[in-house]
């Protein structure tokens, strides 16, 4: 069987999954107002502490410091921490690296010094560099499917492991913010001047965020007593518009129904939505959830804690959600007070207790793409084989 074997998150809220989960449970947000001389307006965002990242990276890998970009360092440190915490050898020929990113080292286009290795702008090169750091010689897989990349990467991991060529998949999600990305979202008028309020009636747009996050999936015949499995995953397209979500939530609804064919709705502890806090996205998700008859199931969004971390979001939010599932906890949505009347959802404002075994992670992105994953918490008493 294929199980979730380890994970890590590097974000404004800390450099380990535990630190990040604890911070979210305590109601902490990494979002703050930032000013950059190169960017026209101040912006709300959740940024990785560069100094802390560099220090920690240097403690682990002194010799490589000068050759890696910050993005590469964050990805390497995240994979390294996930592997060492779970005690897994990711240099093994049985291990496959899968990278989820939307823009990789795109900030290099904006540097006055254009002497960098031009391959660094290529996403496949970033993936190769990370794998090579761990002396892993297998050709890595790179997925760039806008905001749903992190969920696609996990689905790919399960497919590859089922295929039998590999026993371990190291799934890394990363994106950092630069003028390129921030100016783009500003030009789309998608950014909120305030800390974002997912699903709130007063929501006024998204905040961006930075993260590197890693999940390690593994084939095993001896799973630990309590473990998470990715039971089902689905990717769909609205075939409707390149940047606007479907008014009927067609693709998102289809992804939800695809993953829930064999699961009783009452066994779902919660749905972790994309919940970007843009008027359109959250409305579309509310329609999808309502159409799938899940409107009584608790729904949350983590964007108020981390902002939208782009290619890392699907990995990061799956990690926080499965930690909550294991912890029998439903997390509230940061900054949510009152929802819309038209498509009412069950959005907790305080931490709740649930022992139900399933949770859903859903996302949608530019290009009309949608994805949904169904996770299960498996608990055995260890005596039955």
């Amino acid at each position: 069987m294929i199980i979730w074997a380890g994970d890590n998150i590097i974000s404004a809220l800390g450099l380990t999954s535990e630190a990040n989960y604890k911070a979210v449970k305590a109601g902490t947000s990494g979002i703050a107002l930032h000013n950059a001389t190169s960017i026209a307006e101040p912006f709300q965002a959740s940024l990785i502490n560069r100094e802390q990242l560099d220090d920690t990276f240097n403690q682990h890998f002194h010799s490589h410091t000068n050759t890696y970009t910050t993005l590469e360092k964050a990805a390497i440190l995240s994979a390294h921490t996930a592997a060492t915490t779970a005690n897994i050898d990711i240099s093994s020929p049985d291990a496959l690296f899968i990278l989820s990113t939307t823009k990789g080292n795109i900030h290099l286009l904006d540097t006055p010094d254009q002497t960098y290795d031009p391959r660094k702008l290529h996403l496949w090169h970033t993936a190769q560099l990370i794998a090579k750091h761990f002396n892993n010689t297998n050709e890595p897989i790179t997925i760039s499917n806008a905001c749903i990349s992190g969920l696609c990467a996990q689905i790919t991991a399960i497919r590859e492991l089922s295929d039998g060529r590999y026993t371990t998949a190291v799934v890394i999600g990363i994106d950092l913010l630069s003028r390129f990305i921030i100016s783009g979202f500003q030009s789309l008028k998608a950014l909120s001047p305030k800390p974002c309020q997912p699903f709130d009636d007063n929501r006024s747009g998204l905040n961006l965020g930075e993260a590197a996050a890693t999940i390690i999936y593994r084939k095993t015949t001896q799973p630990p007593n309590t473990h998470i499995t990715l039971v089902n995953g689905s990717i769909t397209n609205d075939a409707n518009h390149i940047s606007g979500p479907s008014r009927t939530a067609e693709g998102s609804y289809a992804a939800l129904t695809n993953i829930l064919q064999q699961t009783n709705h009452n066994n779902i502890a919660f749905i972790n939505a994309h919940g970007t806090a843009t008027p359109y996205n959250d409305r579309m998700e509310a329609i999808a959830i309502t159409r799938a008859k899940l409107n009584n199931t608790p729904v949350n969004s983590l964007k108020g804690n981390f902002g939208h971390t782009l290619g890392a979001a699907g990995i990061l939010e799956s990690i926080i959600s499965t930690h909550a599932l294991t912890d029998n906890t439903i997390l509230p949505t940061h900054n949510f007070t009152r929802g819309e009347n038209e498509y009412p959802l069950n959005i907790p404002t305080k931490t709740q207790h649930s022992t139900e075994p399933y949770c859903i992670k859903m996302m949608s992105g530019f290009g009309g793409c949608n994805a949904a994953l169904l996770f299960k918490k498996n608990t055995h008493n260890g005596t039955i084989h």
């Binding site: 990789g104 030009s187 075939a239």
Partner: protein, 206 residues
């Protein structure tokens, strides 16, 4: 599971398959020569135009047969992601010219190309974009096979769509569980490799 290549198309600056006579070089003359009326084409970036036209060439003969479109997957591979448009967008945010273009920014995602194909053909199945250092038949075959296996799908549109450094190449295939009456080409790395070598040779001979 047996899979077949039931149709393929190819576009490079010098050569297309099937052969199309165009009035000039580039993607716009090719669009005009194909004889379709789809004004959205002119809003697309170069990568999306290239993939869109390759899909049009691929599906022209098959349009009517693709009536179970729900499960049709669109899976694209390329080397340079959207870097061509990324560079263009970057020029709109340079300090001397700070007017970021939202319409250009949307195309700084490589998967918009799969969306354009899905929208045009109403394909609501899986859309995915993988970035690989070069056209790798083995990776393409494995990925498509895994996708159809895991989604119980019958059909995939897949291939290579690279637009970079003022050159371009698109190679697309229509993959089915059933073979049609004209061809029984199995969808294997060897066959894909043979096809691409043949198509590139035809280009070089021009």
């Amino acid at each position: 599971m047996e899979l077949y290549i039931n149709q393929y198309s190819y576009i490079s600056p010098k050569h297309t398959h099937p052969t199309v006579t165009t009035a000039g070089e580039g993607l716009t003359p090719l669009y005009r020569a194909i004889g379709i009326d789809y004004p959205k084409f002119f809003k697309m970036d170069n990568l999306a135009k290239l993939g869109f036209l390759a899909a049009e060439l691929l599906l022209q003969q098959n349009k009517r047969n693709l009536n179970t479109r729900k499960d049709i997957a669109t899976i694209c591979f390329n080397r340079s992601s959207s870097l061509d448009t990324d560079r263009l967008y970057q020029t709109t945010i340079n300090p001397e010219n700070n007017y970021p273009s939202p319409s250009l920014f949307v195309y700084t995602l490589p998967n918009i190309l799969t969306a354009e194909i899905a929208i045009r053909n109403k394909f609501t199945g899986e859309t995915s974009t993988y970035i690989t250092p070069s056209l790798n038949p083995e990776t393409i075959v494995r990925t498509v096979r895994q996708t159809l296996n895991n989604t119980n799908g019958n059909t995939a549109i897949t291939g290579w769509t690279e637009y970079a450094d003022d050159t371009h190449e698109a190679f697309m295939m229509l993959i089915n569980k059933q073979h049609n009456s004209n061809t029984t080409t199995p969808f294997t790395p060897e066959q894909v490799n043979k096809l691409i070598i043949h198509l590139r040779k035809q280009t070089n001979n021009k």
